[in-house]
Amino acid sequence: MLKTADNFCRTAVLYFIFIWFGVMVFAPNLLVLLASFLTKEPVWFLRLPLNLQAYRALGDAALLTVILKSVGLAFVTTLFCLLIGYPFTYFIAGFSKETRALFLMLIVVPFWTNSLIRNYALIAVLSEDGLINAFLLHFGLIAEPLKLLNTTFAVFVGMVYTLLPFMILPIYAVLEKIDRSIVEAAADLGAGPFEVFYKIVIPLSFPGIVAGCIMVFLPALTLFYVSDILGGADVNVLGSIIRNKFMIDHDWPVGAAISVALTAFMLVLLHLYYKSGNTVEQERQLW
């Protein structure tokens, strides 16, 4: 009697998991894959026959230029998030447990105001009569207000601002677990602070660095509302292109093909991430 009830429980839960993943995770992505091989159609958006037309469109020079610009912006954004976020995370990881919890909470709090609204508030900082220009004019550092808004620079600031927490949190998760006695042992054995940092702290936190970089780089390619609000009409990210293909041009196959390419790229990055995690695990076993 007991056993049958347990079995029923198990079966019900597993069915739920399979259906949930099947319908909400796998089927949607398979649909995008399928759409990328279909043909554009004005009323129903998609029709047969299956072909590779959409993937050929990816080779278009104008499209490639926008994609490359977006990749460049995402790369610089990731680099700056890492350069700003790593020392920051390293410093807060050195505090006591209660202080660290508070610091971490303070990183999450701004998220409770939607990121679109927070990016909108950045306009008041970057515009010609905004805070930065007012500050620079007040101290006589510039004679004319700088045009910051509606430039790639503004989008870059917005991206770094929006994504910095996504660099900090994964790095923190790794740094917190580093056994401080290893660091102390290295110092006792005569390693200087820089040597300890480069030879011990950085390698041990490498999985966190890779995770952070992925979690910044991919959204930096796709957060179209940041470029819409701060970059004006001139700056487009890869995400704007995908959105436009679906919502404005109604060219679903090409939109889906770009999405598939982006997904493939993400899977490659994730593969690298797991490899980076494994190498550290292997090194740990040597200890």
Binding site: D6, I17, V25, P110, N114, I117, A121, L131, L270
Partner: protein, 256 residues
Amino acid sequence: MVSKLLKSLYIAVVYLFLYMPLAVAIVFSFNDASNSNAWSGFTTKWYASLLHDQSLIKSAVRSLFLAASSATVSTVVGTIMAIALHRYRFIGQKVVFGSLSVIMMSPEIIQGISLAMIFIVLGIPLGFTTLLLAHTVFCFPFVTMTVLARLKGVSRTLAEAAADLGANDVSIVRRILIPLIVPAVFAGWLMSFTLSIDDVIISFFVSGKSYEILPLKIYSMVRTGIQPDVNALCAALFFVTFAVVMISYRLVRDRK
């Protein structure tokens, strides 16, 4: 000593950067100018005009309701998934586990588009239901991972001992596992709530005209020019969320 001061200064500068837009929105919600970013006197008129802007308030309430309900559904789904991954061995377990991290890492735009497609194929009209399902899909892996991390520390022998003493699955879960994972479940709920309230892109693809939430309402206003009462709403919402989260955090901590 100097290095400690420099560290603190650096931490302060980064927080200043993270809080500046919020601070600006709050300060400008009291600014008397209607279409300028320059300061021109203190006023509370935007809060008064906000009270009359029914559609803006409605979409803000919808956003909060969506975040709370999707966080709750995510917590239930995510916790069931974590307990199943912890207790059962089944075919496809590795695939399920791997998919969790793929969902957490994948760009919102891809989730938004793919979910919109499945809703169209299944014939579910875009609105509250689709928003709730979509938000649950991108939030539940965070709950599962948090709860799993907590379950890792729970010895299997505990459940085995209970089973030997005649407890069935349901009572093992209800009386042993759930009490042990309450802090992680709450952390998962809070994380889901945060992710849901912050989301723009997934909502952009899966919401319809029938249920407009705040970020999308503001997004459509950006093109026509934003009224300054948005700053007031922004500030008000921030304080409401802050208060609610702090109170619930206290309640959970005291109960522990």
